[in-house]
């Protein structure tokens, strides 16, 4: 989904604020949120794609206004409610107040994930173009590279496609690549290159290939 989480290249956020000597957890509740998150993974409440998408579906203003561990907490609670392990009423009764959850999943359910792809379609040095599409569900293809041309610089592991695992009881594996994009291609002006790691189906061959 073209959500607020997909931040690459957005403007207007201002300076990066660095906190010298920052602790791993700022508050005890952050530590407890980590405990809950690891626990819910061990309990099988989510795979990686489902968990990431539960955070991407947070209300945009809530997402921007809260820190990492509140994202984890909101995503985990959302998944547990969606899995039927707990209810929102239980949560709000125990909290003694509102417990904001993420918005509903609009991704299209994938019943047939298709066959695994184990052979890399592209070689290092190949020119590729990122597909221009805007799925309503989870994807790990950042918006700022869609439609743009890049060059394969590394072939990585064959891995489960997040777009499928977030919306399906099954999965499909595909090769992943590191793709180099020149600044002029992405932003229309000279600058330094960006490398983005992408699944096979996000890419198309170009005429120059």
């Amino acid at each position: 989904m073209d959500g607020v989480h997909d931040l690459g290249g957005m403007q207007g956020f201002g300076a990066v604020v660095v906190e010298p000597g920052e602790p791993v957890f700022h508050e005890q509740w952050e530590r407890r949120a980590a405990v809950i998150t690891f626990g819910s993974f061990l309990a099988g409440a989510s795979n990686g794609g489902q968990f990431r998408h539960s955070i991407e579906r947070m209300d945009p203003s809530h997402y921007l206004d809260s820190t990492y561990y509140e994202h984890w907490l909101t995503g985990v609670a959302t998944r547990l409610v969606e899995a039927g392990l707990i209810t929102r009423d239980d949560l709000e009764e125990r909290t003694g107040g509102p417990f904001p959850l993420s918005r509903p999943d609009r991704g299209m359910r994938v019943d047939d994930p298709g066959a695994d792809v184990t052979e890399a379609r592209f070689a290092v040095g190949d020119q590729v173009r990122v597909r221009n599409w805007h799925p309503p569900g989870h994807t790990r293809c950042p918006r700022y590279v869609r439609g743009h041309k890049g060059t394969i610089v590394r072939i990585d592991i064959v891995a489960s496609v997040p777009d499928i695992e977030a919306h399906s009881p099954s999965s499909r594996n595909e090769p992943t690549y590191s793709v180099r994009f020149e600044a002029a291609e992405l932003w229309g002006e000279p600058g330094d290159p960006v490398h983005v790691d992408l699944w096979d189906n996000y890419l198309e061959p170009t005429d120059e290939r």
Binding site: M10, F13, E19, G39, L64, G97, F99, G191, D192
Partner: protein, 200 residues
């Protein structure tokens, strides 16, 4: 809710986020979905055993042992596991080397992917919208703002950790440190230099 969260002698009122965390934890424990005793140990491990001190050992070794450095750049995961560092968010590690002509920096624009076994859990700024939005679009300006000046003749390579690979930057060894021992060199390596937002 609980008075135990107060410090000193005066319990303070809890905040809404504290109430939500406590409510979810209590609910999951009551239903037998999580076992907090086991999990406390896992989180303590993340808090105390993982961190930039691990990555610094990898860098220190690479600086003194050319053969290790060659293996590290060829297969980061295997070479890093030789030093005992592995686990979640570290199954596919790629080490990118800084040279006089190339400076590398890592980011995760879509969430906050980070190489946990070698750097620990990420700092807040790494997870913040300003860093995630700007590092891909204006890396040179943002690095300068963060106190990291890169020569005009040096290419900055930004690595967006958008799939399974987690990156570690191998910083250049500082000038004048050739006579130092591996331990002394390791002590010079900072977290920020292994993310690529600082040079040593």
């Amino acid at each position: 809710m609980s008075a135990e969260t107060g410090t000193h002698h005066h319990p303070r009122p809890t905040s809404p986020i504290e109430d939500r965390v406590a409510a979810l934890e209590a609910l999951l424990v009551d239903k037998g979905i999580i076992d907090t005793d086991a999990l406390d140990g896992i989180v303590e491990h993340y808090e105390h055993e993982l961190g930039p001190m691990n990555g610094a050992k990898v860098v220190g070794r690479a600086w003194v042992d050319p053969d290790y450095k060659r293996r590290l750049l060829a297969d980061g995961t295997t070479a890093i596991s030789e030093l005992g560092f592995a686990g979640p968010e570290g199954d596919h590690l790629v080490v990118v080397e800084n040279t006089p002509s190339v400076h590398n920096v890592i980011v995760c624009t879509l969430c906050s992917c980070y190489p946990w076994p070698v750097l620990g859990l990420p700092p807040r700024w790494y997870k913040s919208p300003p860093y995630r939005s700007r590092m891909v679009r204006e890396p040179r300006a943002l690095l300068r703002e963060m106190g990291c000046e890169i020569d005009d003749g040096t290419e900055i390579r930004v690595w967006d950790s958008s799939a399974e690979v987690r990156y570690l930057v191998l910083p250049m060894q500082p000038d004048g440190t050739d006579g130092l021992t591996e331990d002394e060199l390791t002590a010079l390596v900072t977290r920020d230099s292994m993310i690529g937002v600082a040079v040593l």
